[in-house]
């Protein structure tokens, strides 16, 4: 089937955006990645102009790595799981807006990883030497922990969140949810206060405006608002305790 693809492009981080329109022939079952791959094989626009292939990031193509996230018809999602047949005959592709654009559809999402570092999103183990099994974890904790742990740092929740913008340094829903994951774990809980402290700081959990866009946008159904609500309570108790202890 023939489809039109309109791509918002940019040559360098500082140059201004421009539009290229392509027409490609793809199979009924194609996804947006296949469309971009077809363009690479013959990068000619509808006006017959030969242009450079569209730069885009992708890796696993099965919606577990998070790399190919972009705006597709104005909605942030992974290009690999965006099937063309559900997108109409004109597809608009543009880079994520909440992250600096590098080139074409590629953005720099390092702030997500910086956020993970800030909240100490890890279990503080002694080392990799043999110390026997880890602490027992109940099936109940595992079920909720696993849901949070499927977050692939794709940035969709931040794209959807009105509080993530040029005027704020809100670390975003994904990173906050990870705090709950690690605070739930018996060993992770040993530095629970450090993580809560990092959430109280500027750009932390108080920036959340409760728009609840994040949980609707998340491709992996990570319980984002559930996590934020729980941590709102935890940070509140922690602040009171800190106040009383001081």
């Amino acid at each position: 089937m023939k489809i039109r693809v309109i791509v918002e492009r940019r040559k360098t981080p500082l140059s201004s955006p421009y539009i290229n329109e392509f027409e490609v022939n793809v199979e009924e079952s194609a996804n947006v990645i296949s469309v971009l791959m077809e363009i690479r094989k013959n990068p000619v626009t509808v006006t017959g102009e030969r242009v450079s292939p569209v730069s885009f990031e992708c890796s696993c193509l099965e919606e577990v790595c998070g790399a190919c996230t972009m705006n597709i018809n104005g909605v942030a999602r992974q290009a690999c799981s965006a099937l063309v047949k559900n997108l109409g005959n004109k597809i608009y592709l543009s880079p994520l807006r909440k992250f600096p654009v590098l080139r074409d559809l590629i953005v720099d999402r390092k702030k997500i990883f910086e956020g993970l570092r800030r909240v100490k999103a890890w279990i503080p183990i002694d080392g990799t030497h043999g110390l026997g099994p880890g602490p027992k974890v109940s099936e109940k904790i595992q079920r909720i922990g696993y849901k949070i742990s499927r977050c692939m740092s794709c940035g969709v929740c931040m794209e959807a969140c009105p509080q993530v913008n040029d005027r704020s340094n809100f670390i975003g829903p994904a990173v906050i949810a990870q705090v709950l994951l690690f605070n739930m774990h018996p060993t992770g809980a040993m530095i629970k206060e450090d993580r809560l402290e990092s959430l109280i700081d500027e750009g932390g959990i108080s920036e959340c405006g409760n728009a609840q866009n994040c949980v609707k946008a998340c491709p992996k159904q990570v319980p984002l608002t559930y996590s934020i609500a729980k941590l709102n309570r935890d940070t509140l108790f922690y602040s009171i305790k800190r106040l009383l202890d001081s």
Partner: protein, 581 residues
């Protein structure tokens, strides 16, 4: 040499991250080079689980049995001592991951749960839903982030390995790498380098691998004189779903949890694996299952709807169990095929999946170049002629651990550090890469590199996968050489100096062509059938002539691999015929 030495790790998957963690624990500072943020490495795609014989189900499983089954499953081609060490280390590894907080599935009592996988009859596979690779990768990524926060790790994200720096005494002293966005090309010094760059599925065009699995780094090293072993052993996974951009894996764990393979024969469901292999049923090793499915579809013409596909059926299992244990993989099927696998059987067909061969390494994970180590899927050591399911995550982590420890030992014994090496050595290697990229940039021929890659993939998939014939392999070699000629006439398509992906892809493509030759020539010369390598003209395993490791060495004059053979270390288990019926 002591604290403060710098090492380089190339690759952010399980092997690279584990090597990084262990190196940091040995007080080494690590520069970690990855194409994408480590969290997006191909290890995320591993679904089913990780093997460790901890015998929590009271079945009498042990690391010795795991060792035996791994060697047997690999058709006796793996050197035995390192495999034994891996299986013995497996319980420690799973406990370690558990301590790192991996959200493994649990039993009602809160213990780790284990499930069955192919090539064994024990419940030996720990799992986190059906996204185990992702969950383990994240845990290691988190530990590395911890070392990054403490200043021991410096990440070079978006940098591609382009060349090893090998000094006049044949010792590796660093690498040359290029930034995919800024297009800078620079050298980096190190006292030891660990290559952990994964498999090479992209040589087959469409496979279950991520698009970053090009084998480019391995190919570059092979052309720099690193031995490449068992190239012809490529695992074709029996159950994947077709797509225009890739073939998506449907994990073996689906059968481990009771999924059944069938097609129609004479109008009735025919469970051909269960019928032919009553003992293992749907859980025969992957090479066998793939050949049987291939046979049923291609030779017998019994594929579903007349196409090359059979059913993988879980509709008899209750939804709650499926969601808890297989949710992640069934979601992939549902999203990409638009059909509900809970109520309708899935349609699957074999796809290229895993690279058993790879860079030759010794038992310390070191290649034939001193100071250059390799771990994970990019090396050849643990799986012989066929890998058992859920052994890949294990071999990546174990190999990474060994490499992390051994680089520390190696550096202690080094007479000169990389800082004592003359600058010209580094400049020389960097200039070679710069010259190559200048040449690539100037290419304005009429071959589209992406189109050429597609043709390479089709050629390799058609001729060098499940069934191999010598005449076809010979023709494939001729065709690859033609493609190497055509490569000289490519159009680089993009003249930009920023984020020019085609430039880097063209470089990868050239490297893929060279490794394709290694794979195909190795296959042509191995006149027997063993594990994943199957020739109808030579249907038997031939231990007398081929119980040997294939070694490919690049010959610059002919621009081709020279193939020789090395004996296999079978000191622990005597080879016997491999049967699963």
């Amino acid at each position: 040499m002591s604290a403060g030495c710098e090492v380089i790790v190339v690759g952010g998957g399980l092997a690279g991250l584990m090597a990084t963690i262990v190196a940091c624990e040995n007080n080494l500072r690590v520069k970690l080079f990855t194409l994408l943020p480590a969290k997006r490495s191909h290890s995320v795609c591993a679904q089913g689980g990780i093997n460790a014989s901890v015998n929590t189900k009271g079945e009498g499983d042990s690391p010795d049995i795991h060792f035996y089954e791994t060697i047997y499953g690999g058709d006796f081609l793996a050197n035995q001592p390192p495999v034994k060490a891996m299986c013995e280390n497996a319980p420690n590894i799973v406990y370690l991951l558990d301590r790192m907080g991996v959200m493994f599935n649990r039993t009602p009592e809160g213990f780790l749960d284990f499930r069955r996988f192919g090539g064994t009859r024990y419940h030996r596979t720990a799992f986190a839903g059906a996204t185990t690779g992702q969950q383990i990768l994240y845990a290691l990524d988190e530990q590395v982030r911890r070392f990054e926060a403490s200043g021991l790790v410096k990440k070079f994200t978006g940098w591609e390995f382009l060349r090893a720096i090998i000094d006049d005494n044949n010792i590796c002293r660093g690498i040359v790498a290029g930034n995919i966005n800024t297009q800078e090309i620079e050298y980096f010094k190190a006292d030891a380098v660990v290559i952990a760059t994964g498999g090479l599925g992209m040589i087959f065009g469409k496979s279950t691998n991520s698009v970053i699995c090009t084998g480019s780094a391995q190919s570059i090293l092979y052309k720099q004189g690193v031995k490449y072993a068992n190239g012809e052993f490529i695992q074709v996974h029996p159950t994947a779903i077709a797509g225009g951009d890739k073939l998506r894996l449907i994990s073996e764990s689906v059968r481990g949890e009771g999924g059944r393979i069938w097609t129609y024969r004479d109008g009735k469901p025919w469970y051909f694996l269960e019928e032919k292999y009553p003992k293992y049923g749907n859980l025969v090793p992957r090479d066998i299952a793939s050949r049987e499915i291939f046979n049923v579809c291609v030779n017998m013409g019994l594929g579903i709807d007349g196409k090359n596909q059979v059913y993988l059926d879980v509709t008899h299992i209750d939804r709650e169990t499926l969601e808890y244990k297989l949710g992640g993989v069934l979601e992939i099927y549902e999203k990409f095929m638009g059909e509900d696998p809970y109520t309708r059987p899935m349609k699957v067909f074999p796809a290229v999946h895993y690279t058993m061969g790879g860079l030759w390494v010794d038992y310390d994970q070191m290649t034939n170049i001193k100071g250059l180590f390799a771990a994970g899927e990019c090396e050849y050591q643990y799986h012989g002629a066929n890998r058992l399911g859920a052994n890949s995550l294990l071999s990546c982590i174990h190999g990474g651990m060994v490499a992390g420890r051994k680089i520390a030992d190696f550096i202690k014994g080094l007479e000169k550090s990389c800082d004592d090496i003359e600058g010209r050595v580094f400049e020389r290697e960097k200039n070679l890469v710069l010259a190559k990229f200048e040449k690539l940039k100037s290419m304005k021929g009429n071959e589209n590199p992406y189109q050429l890659h597609k043709e390479l993939g089709e050629l390799m998939t058609e001729n060098v996968t499940v069934i191999r014939y010598n005449d076809k392999l010979e023709r494939t070699i001729v065709k690859i050489k033609e493609m190497k000629e055509r490569f000289k006439n490519i159009d680089i398509l993009d003249n930009s100096d920023f984020g020019n992906q085609t430039l880097f892809f063209a470089n990868q493509l050239e490297n893929m062509l060279d490794l394709a030759l290694v794979i195909t020539k190795g296959a042509l010369l191995r006149n027997e059938s063993r594990g994943s390598h199957y020739k109808p003209e030579f249907p038997q395993r031939d231990d007398e002539n081929f119980l040997k490791t294939t070694i490919a060495i690049y010959d610059e004059k002919s621009d081709e691999p020279q193939i020789t053979y090395e004996p296999v270390d079978i000191s622990l288990i005597k080879p016997v015929a491999r049967k699963y019926d």
